[in-house]
Structure formats: structure tokens, C-alpha cells
């Protein structure tokens, strides 16, 4: 039997945050991981993003109350359009992704915002109604990673990711 509170706590343990002040969490799930974050770090402000509007609508009353109790330091944004709107504003907050193992679904917003299948990139930017180059310019610096410090040899040798990183490294050589 799964215990979502325990899973949330374990997830926060795994983050190993050091003196965080502001964090963006992609994936709301049932919210227990968010409550754990806010409770464990008294000064921390958390913004949670989730592309699924229906999630918010399906919250039981007790969960809504848990959110409300922490509303001064916990904010949740639902729906792709609102998430994209949020993402257009530069931020220096760290971004982490929550995978809701108990419900076994992928939260695609992390990938959508920051990598693999981004609605803010390429054709999907046009579909979302945003200007591509503006969206690209506004993507937050959420990982202190310079392309030169990404070592493609640490990725699987023939993986797509390794090949992509190698091309990009040539651009800044």
C-alpha cells in the first residue's frame, strides 16, 4: 500500500537542498511533497507547476485546506497556458521535478519547460501562441550548467543526448 506522505518526505530527503530560499517544483501530484518542503524549510517559498487543470479541480477538501494553510509560502499554478506565462518571467529559483510514483503518471511540464518536448520551443511555441525567440530568451537559469561543463562522455556513448551536447560544445569552442 503506497504512502504518499512518506514518498513526499523521501523525495525531499533526496533533494538535499542547502539553504534554499525559492524553489519551483514541477508536478503537484497530491501536494504532500510540497507540504513537506514548506514545513521542513521555514524560509522557503515554493511555486508548484502542473499542466493539468483537472488535477486542481479534483482535489479533496482536506488537501485544499493543506494548501490554504501554507498559502503565504506555497503557490500552485495549473494549466499549460498559465504555466507558460509563468515561465516567461526570468527567475533564478532552482527548479526540481516531482515524479508522482503513487499515481504512476509522467508530469511532462519539466520536460516541456526546460528540455525535451518544450511547448516553448520550435513549432509548439507557435501553437501556444508565444513568440519563439522571446520565450527562448526568458527561460530561467535554473541549473548552473555551462555547456562546456556538460561532459558528453558521462552520458551513454551513442545516446542522442551525448551527440546533442557534442554539437553544442563545437559551437562555443
Amino acid at each position: 500500500m503506497r504512502d504518499p506522505r512518506k514518498e513526499g518526505a523521501l523525495w525531499v530527503d533526496g533533494l538535499a537542498l542547502a539553504h534554499p530560499t525559492s524553489i519551483i517544483v514541477v508536478g503537484v501530484g497530491l501536494g504532500y511533497h510540497l507540504f513537506e518542503l514548506v514545513d521542513r524549510y521555514p524560509g522557503l517559498h515554493v511555486t508548484a507547476l502542473d499542466g493539468k487543470c483537472e488535477l486542481q479541480e479534483s482535489f479533496p477538501e482536506e488537501l485544499r485546506e493543506e494548501f490554504a494553510k501554507r498559502s503565504s509560502r506555497l503557490k500552485a499554478i495549473f494549466g499549460l497556458r498559465d504555466v507558460c506565462e509563468f515561465a516567461l518571467h526570468p527567475t533564478t529559483a532552482s527548479v526540481v521535478r516531482f515524479r508522482a510514483a503513487c499515481f504512476d503518471f509522467e508530469n511532462e511540464i519539466f520536460e516541456d519547460l526546460l528540455g525535451q518536448a518544450g511547448p516553448l520551443f520550435g513549432r509548439r511555441a507557435a501553437m501556444a501562441g508565444y513568440d519563439f525567440s522571446k520565450a527562448l530568451a526568458a527561460i530561467p537559469e535554473n541549473l548552473a550548467v555551462n555547456i562546456k561543463s556538460l561532459d558528453p562522455d558521462r552520458l551513454e556513448a551513442d545516446s542522442r543526448e551525448a551527440k546533442l551536447v557534442r554539437v553544442l560544445r563545437e559551437l562555443v569552442r
Binding site: 526546460l114 537559469e141 550548467v145 554539437v167 563545437e170 559551437l171 562555443v172
Partner: protein
């Protein structure tokens, strides 16, 4: 066949590649070209090709801005590649030959891939690709024009060479600035040339980019002569031009495509053997300052612009007058300036006509074609027909015999030097096996030998790879040794091809002499 060509270089390089792209199109391929996003303005001028634009500047902007996410660049590149692969190309050819393009090839899907490419982490290059990178690139005496070398490396026939249209009565165009100050002829000379042309009642236009206009006005050029136009406007002017006089720029190469008669002024790092305007009847004035051509990457190494100073106004003026009015060919005022004219060899490659070098160029090209074409399925001319081509194109059996004797002596000496090099190389490899370091004596000897070979073959590029292999700065001694071994193998084969061909030529000449004797 749906073919994608990677042409991730500059505007002038794309213009030079047009004959090869056209040949591809004429062979029935649906031709797609991947260019940098900065070349977008070019696309409407060539609707026969399908263009794709590599977002180089956007990606570089993201990667070098610390407020932007690196993951954004990774994702954007992924989407770009997915979109490109959705075209389902049957063949992808890399005409760029640098590490960026080779890495990009690894991401592209196609049944056939040609040119430099990474595969499973290793750089794959066939013999022709190796020639491009390790001989042609560093060579100071290239045997082929870039486009012909590229055609060879792709296993394609040399593309057609357009002939300049010498019957035009349009403006005389001057392209006075290049992308590199060491390639520029003094602006004062250009002004005087423009003024002289106006006195000759010619319609003179000084070409420039819009951002260059103010600079040229400050330098004293008459504003009414300045033509700051976009690409479409430039094409219109070049399509009507009586003559274009230009430094080594993209405008010169566009002029070749549009068959405008051109006179290139090649200074600094500009090397006409590699990048002359590729048209029959195009002309180049090349100043030889001993240090020419110099390195692209470094500034001029001299205290003053020696090659530019040797290019006198009178020399340029006389040649322009000859081209415009069909005056008799003038004598060159400066012995340090060579006048070269675009022509075609019997095998269809481009060459610059200069009586000092014609025969050497023809020979070098033939030898390289022999050596490189073994990689491809196309027919390789047997030694017999190659010998006939040489005898036909030489201009006299007596001079061919004399040259053949001199070449045989040179080859004999070269083979002895190669044995010497080989011995030193094996010693070095043995020492490396035993001690994991290279012996200084072997290294020194190999450098001496390759230096001697370089002098012996200074008018060709046969020894370039061997010389370059001694200059490698690769950290691994093993890699350096392997490079020398491969270079030694190549130069040995090149000399062997020459020896075999000379034997057939000698035999043919003997038989002809015997036949003449019998008839007498």
C-alpha cells in the same frame, strides 16, 4: 533521390558551391541545403534548392549567456534535428568538413552519408576526406580548386565551369573591401582606379554593404558612385557588369556564377589556387611577397603590407583596360605580380593558366585523381589513357622528355628519403613500445627528411600531409606516430603512381620515336 547538403560556411563559400549544387540538381536529385541562419537572404535567389537554416546564432546566444538555460539550447537543437530528419533524406553530404558539421552528421538519419562524420564516437573519413583535411587544407601549393577538391571527395565529376560573358556594356563594379584587412588593397589605389574609370567615361559603381557606406564616404569616395545594395540588387548589377574588380570576397564568387568578367586582386591570405573565381576567362592578379599566401588566422606578419605594395595601380589599371577594351595583353609592371587566367584541364578540373605552372598543375591533378578515385566506383583512367592525355596536353615531346628525366631523378631521390624516414619511424615506434616515449634522434631525423621532401616537391602538395604529420601537436605520441605512418603510406603511393605513369609515358614516347624513324 532526396539529398541534403551541409553547407555551414560563409556566404562566399556557398556561392562557390553553386556549380556543384547545380550539378546535383541536374542529375535528378531533389536538393536540400542546410546553411547557417545568417544566410536566409540567399534562399529567395535560388528557388531551385530547398533551404534549411541551422539556428547557429540563436544557439550560440543561448550558450554564451549565463542568464539563459543550457537545457534550452539542447532542446532547441533536438527539435531542429527532428524536424530535419522528418524530411527522410536518402543521402546526406557534408560539404563543410569541420568538427561541428561532422558532429551534426551523427544526428542525421540517412541511408548514405558522405564526407566527414562522427559515428559511434569516432571520426570517419575516407581517403578523399583525408585529402581535403590533411593535404588540401594546410597545403601551400594546392593541386585543385576548392570546389574540384570537394567534388573529388564526394566521388562526383568536376562540375561545369561557366565562361565569362565578355560582351556586356554595363557598369564597371569595384568591390573595395574584404572581410580581412590583410586582403585589402589600399583604398587610395581604389579611389584612383575609380577616378580613372570615370575619366574614361565608364559607369563606375563602388559596391559596399549599407554599413560600409559612411566609411567609404569619409575615405573620399564620391557618394554617387557608391552602390549599397542587397543581394537581389547585387545580382542585378553583376548580371549586367562589364567588369568586376574585387578582392577575394563573396562578390567575386557570385560574379562567376553570373558570368561577369572579373579581375580578382589576391593579397594576404587569399590563395587563388584554392579559391580563384571559378570561371573560364576569369582573371587574378596575385602578388607574391614570399610570405604569400599568409595564414588566415593570424594578422600580417610583416612590418608593412608588402604584398599590397607590390600590387601597383598601373598593373591593375592596365589589366582592367585590356579587359574592357580588348587592348593587347599588357606587360606586367611588377615581376612580383602574377597574372592568372581561369581555364580547364583535360579532365574538366579548373586551373589557373600561368606558363610557369601549367604542366605542374596538370600533372599534380592527374596523380591525385588516380590516387583518390580508387575509393569510388567510378571508372579510373588506366595508365595508358592518362599517358596519352599528358602527351597531348604537354606542348611538345622534347620538353616532356626533359621534364620526365628530371622527374625520374626527383622520384629516385624521394624514394631514398622515404626509406630513411621509414627507418626512423620504425625506430621511433620500437622505442615507444619499449620506453613509452619518442626518441629525439628519430624525431629530428623525420623532421629533416620531411623538410627535404617539402623543398623537393614545393610546387605540389604531395608532401604536405607528411610535413604536417611532423607538426602535429597531439598530446598522444602514439597518435602522432600513427599519423606519420599513414602519411608515409600515402606519399609512398603518390610517388609510386608517378613512377608508374612516367614509365608508361616513356614507353609511349619511345614507340612514337620508333614509328617516326621507321617512316623516315
Amino acid at each position: 533521390m532526396k539529398t541534403l547538403v551541409l553547407s555551414l560556411l560563409r556566404l562566399g563559400d556557398f556561392f562557390q558551391q553553386l556549380p556543384l549544387l547545380t550539378a546535383l540538381k541536374d542529375s535528378g536529385d531533389e536538393v536540400h541545403v542546410l546553411v547557417n541562419d545568417s544566410l536566409r537572404p540567399v534562399a529567395p535567389l535560388f528557388p531551385e534548392f530547398e533551404f534549411h537554416f541551422f539556428p547557429r546564432e540563436i544557439l550560440q546566444g543561448v550558450l554564451t549567456d549565463s542568464s539563459k538555460s543550457t537545457l534550452g539550447a539542447i532542446h532547441q537543437l533536438r527539435v531542429f534535428v527532428d524536424d530535419l530528419n522528418a524530411n527522410r533524406f536518402e543521402t546526406v553530404e557534408n560539404w563543410t568538413h569541420n568538427f561541428l558539421s561532422a558532429r551534426l552528421m551523427d544526428l542525421l538519419d540517412a541511408g548514405v552519408k558522405k564526407g566527414a562524420r562522427f559515428q559511434a564516437g569516432r571520426l570517419e573519413r575516407d581517403k578523399s576526406g583525408t585529402y581535403m583535411n590533411e593535404t588540401w587544407g594546410p597545403s601551400g601549393a594546392a593541386s585543385f580548386h576548392w570546389i574540384d577538391a570537394l567534388a573529388l571527395s564526394m566521388g562526383r565529376a568536376f562540375p561545369e565551369i561557366p565562361r565569362v560573358d565578355g560582351h556586356r556594356s554595363g557598369p564597371v563594379l569595384l568591390q573595395v573591401l574584404t572581410s580581412d584587412s590583410k586582403k585589402n588593397w589600399r583604398l587610395g589605389n581604389w579611389k584612383k582606379l575609380a577616378n580613372w574609370l570615370r575619366r574614361e567615361e565608364e559607369d563606375v559603381r563602388v559596391l559596399c554593404a549599407p554599413f560600409e557606406k559612411e566609411t567609404l564616404i569619409r575615405e573620399g569616395f564620391a557618394p554617387e558612385t557608391l552602390a549599397a545594395c542587397d543581394l537581389a540588387g547585387l545580382c542585378d548589377l553583376l548580371g549586367r557588369a562589364k567588369v568586376l574588380v574585387s578582392g577575394d570576397t563573396s562578390v567575386l564568387h557570385l560574379a562567376s556564377h553570373l558570368r561577369a568578367p572579373s579581375l580578382g586582386i589576391f593579397l594576404g591570405s587569399a590563395d587563388p589556387r584554392k579559391t580563384a573565381p571559378r570561371a573560364l576567362g576569369s582573371k587574378v592578379l596575385w602578388a607574391d611577397a614570399g610570405c604569400s599566401p599568409c595564414s588566415h588566422r593570424n594578422p600580417c606578419s610583416q612590418a608593412h603590407h608588402v604584398c599590397g605594395e607590390k600590387m601597383s595601380l598601373q598593373t591593375v589599371q592596365d589589366e582592367v583596360a585590356h579587359m574592357m577594351r580588348k587592348d593587347p595583353q599588357p606587360q606586367l609592371h611588377s615581376p612580383a605580380v602574377r597574372l592568372l587566367e581561369g581555364t580547364k584541364t583535360p579532365s574538366g578540373a579548373f586551373a589557373l593558366r600561368d606558363s610557369r605552372q601549367d604542366a605542374v598543375v596538370m600533372w599534380s591533378q592527374l596523380i591525385w585523381e588516380f590516387y583518390l578515385n580508387r575509393d569510388h566506383d567510378g571508372a579510373v583512367a588506366p595508365y595508358g589513357s592518362a599517358a596519352h592525355a599528358i602527351i597531348r596536353g604537354w606542348g611538345g615531346e622534347k620538353s616532356l622528355r626533359a621534364w620526365s628525366e628530371a622527374l625520374k631523378e626527383r622520384l629516385e631521390l624521394s624514394f631514398r628519403l622515404l626509406e630513411d624516414f621509414s627507418e626512423s619511424l620504425w625506430t621511433a615506434m620500437r622505442d615507444f613500445n619499449l620506453e613509452e616515449s619518442l626518441s629525439t634522434a628519430s624525431e629530428t631525423r623525420m623532421r629533416e627528411v620531411s623538410s627535404r621532401l617539402s623543398v623537393l616537391w614545393r610546387d605540389t602538395d604531395f608532401a604536405t600531409r607528411l610535413v604536417e604529420s611532423n607538426l602535429s601537436s597531439d598530446a598522444s605520441p602514439f597518435v602522432r606516430l600513427r599519423g606519420r605512418k599513414e602519411a608515409l603510406q600515402e606519399v609512398y603511393e603518390l610517388f609510386t603512381v608517378q613512377r608508374n605513369l612516367i614509365r608508361v609515358i616513356d614507353q609511349e614516347l619511345k614507340e612514337r620515336s620508333a614509328q617516326h624513324g621507321a617512316r623516315a
